[in-house]
Symmetry: C2
Subunit: 350 residues, 2 copies
């Protein structure tokens, strides 16, 4: 595997039904991404056993034997000291430049802690962020930070906006993404100090970005912005509120139909309508939270994802690796000095 | 109107189609609450004209003529200086103890500013909060603060929990409400400092409260708690995310059905199922954000509400007035010294 530009390393042992789910996901993703090679870290015997069902995988996968595993209850402070786990080794492959991205369905805190320690933040980026692609009325949007940083400064938020802008261009194919800061009002004086300052910074900066100001949470789902920026606490609250409400409504529709025998007769007629909604709102299609801002890409699959869900996380990683996402961020940041912009704001505000 | 225990004052001129909508709402609410009397503040000619449709209203309404009106674009700093508006006069009736609560569909910022200035916070309550009743899987819950305070201390959050607990008992009829703090994780060490401190305070206090710890945003809609407590920024983000997603999904279902001719045939069969969902999730049923923590109750109806929606806000006010909500909070607080509890926490943490 000489061309590591298109190599993804995979933690085969993370998640609820590993390595079975991981190998099933690899089988789907390998067919969809014939240009990508995979380094598979995990228990060689178990991994090979699962691969028997997909013999073609041997052509694109290299198995790297690791007996130890990071468990869900392990603390970040412990896992960063054990170099022998499949997760640690999979991430270290990115540090060693043998792969461009790592995908794991294991312990989130552990994945973040090891990724941060081994890959380090990109120069000029102060804090990495968790990003996800989400569905809105007419397509998808990029949302960050979803929980890596509970509190954020204006500079942090501005950096997230820059990374989100690149992600929307590269991964969603939006030519000129509309970038917005999540806030509880549209007026300039509304919300928190750091959000207002970040807005000033993005407006005054020389960035080539379509910054549209503030977005309110109820506007997100209607596609007003392609990139929604928040601190990790607020982003996590918005994400989980959206997911919880979508789940509630799906459940209510199911229940209401189940308890009305008459409505069973209507279901066949609704087949295409229901199929269309599922196709847009299916959470599996949005699996794979990306940890961005590091020298390498780290992607977290949901621990309970099935093979198809895991393949979506692998596809996301493949897309960004193909677009050389990390170097694109580096280049973009070379032309802008956020610290300088933030200094201007500082003098203006006080 | 000698017994002002059951009097509600109404700003007839607030909202998009006032006073028509307000009078329509009064007509519905008056029938449902024959024990309540209303003081109606607004342009006497217009109000009387609208009342022609509902002559029985004259028995329970006293019209107080006010020519001036608070407009949507008026700033709080202006409106608190003009005593002649219908909104100011309606709130002042509560200060003068002529009414126990005020309901308005006008400018939110103005309503909050005048209410705060005239009614003042209850002794021992540091900050008032905006509260709403929301639908979950099996019933309703109380959520606060929804936007009155962008940043909150642990003491503020604990006070919101106390007020929310009383609201759930009095207005929702829950005997022993489960009270939770909104956070991004269930573990004790997760989230923001002030939330963790508030949790400590509520655990250690002598309050007669079923405090169940942290709740995550996706758990809210499934009825895990009867009272959800957050700072105003976070609460507003969660509320608007929930509302936006519910609106998106309703729209998607409608669209999907509209664009599939075949599915039209299924609709009659689904009539009862759809009716049941609308009955639970209809936003009109949850109209009326209450401003609590003041010496008197101030209720804000949505500016775009129709007559039925406005009547829901009036019903909420009537319920709480009947239960003597403000005095219940005062009595509850007499037995607890939150400042003392917070001192203990302070020494423990630092």
């Amino acid at each position: 595997m000489s061309d590591n530009n298109l190599v993804i390393s995979v933690d085969a042992m993370g998640g609820d039904n590993s390595p079975r789910i991981v190998i099933e996901g690899l089988a789907i993703a390998a067919k969809k991404n014939p240009d990508i090679k995979f380094l598979v870290f995990g228990d060689e015997v178990k991994v090979k056993d699962e691969m028997k069902k997909f013999p073609f995988l041997h052509k694109v996968c290299t198995i790297c034997n690791c007996i130890e595993v990071v468990h869900n209850e392990d603390k970040p402070s412990q896992v960063i000291r054990n170099k022998n786990t499949s997760m640690y080794q999979a991430i270290d492959a990115v540090r060693r430049k043998e792969a461009k991205a790592v995908v794991s369905a294991g312990n989130t805190g552990a994945l973040m802690a090891i990724s941060k320690m081994l890959l380090k933040t990109i120069q000029k980026i102060h804090r990495p962020a968790i990003v996800s692609f989400m569905p809105h009325r007419h397509g998808k949007y990029v949302m960050l930070d979803l929980g890596a940083n509970t509190e954020c400064s204006a500079v942090n938020l501005a950096e997230f906006a820059i990374m989100g802008n690149i992600l929307a261009k590269k991964a969603l194919g939006v030519e000129k993404p509309k970038v917005a800061l999540l806030n509880i009002g549209a007026e300039e004086m509304k919300g928190k100090e750091e959000i207002r300052q970040a807005a000033q910074m993005l407006k005054n900066s020389s960035l080539n970005m379509d910054f549209i100001g503030f977005i309110e949470p109820h506007e997100i789902s209607f596609g007003k912005a392609d990139v929604v920026v928040a601190d990790g606490f607020t982003g996590n609250v918005a994400l989980k509120s959206i997911e919880g409400t979508a789940k509630l409504m799906r459940g209510m529709i199911k229940d209401a139909v189940k308890h009305s025998v008459l409505s069973w007769f209507g279901l066949p007629f609704l087949f295409f309508a229901i199929k269309k909604i599922s196709k847009t709102m299916n959470p599996k299609l949005y699996n794979g939270a990306m940890f961005v801002g590091l020298n390498g890409l780290s992607v977290k699959s949901h621990g309970g994802a099935d093979g198809f869900g895991f393949s979506v996380a692998l596809n996301n990683a493949a897309n960004l690796v193909r677009q050389d996402f990390v170097n694109t961020i580096r280049n973009e940041l070379e032309s802008v000095d956020l610290d300088e912009v933030s200094q201007d704001i500082f003098y203006e505000v006080y």
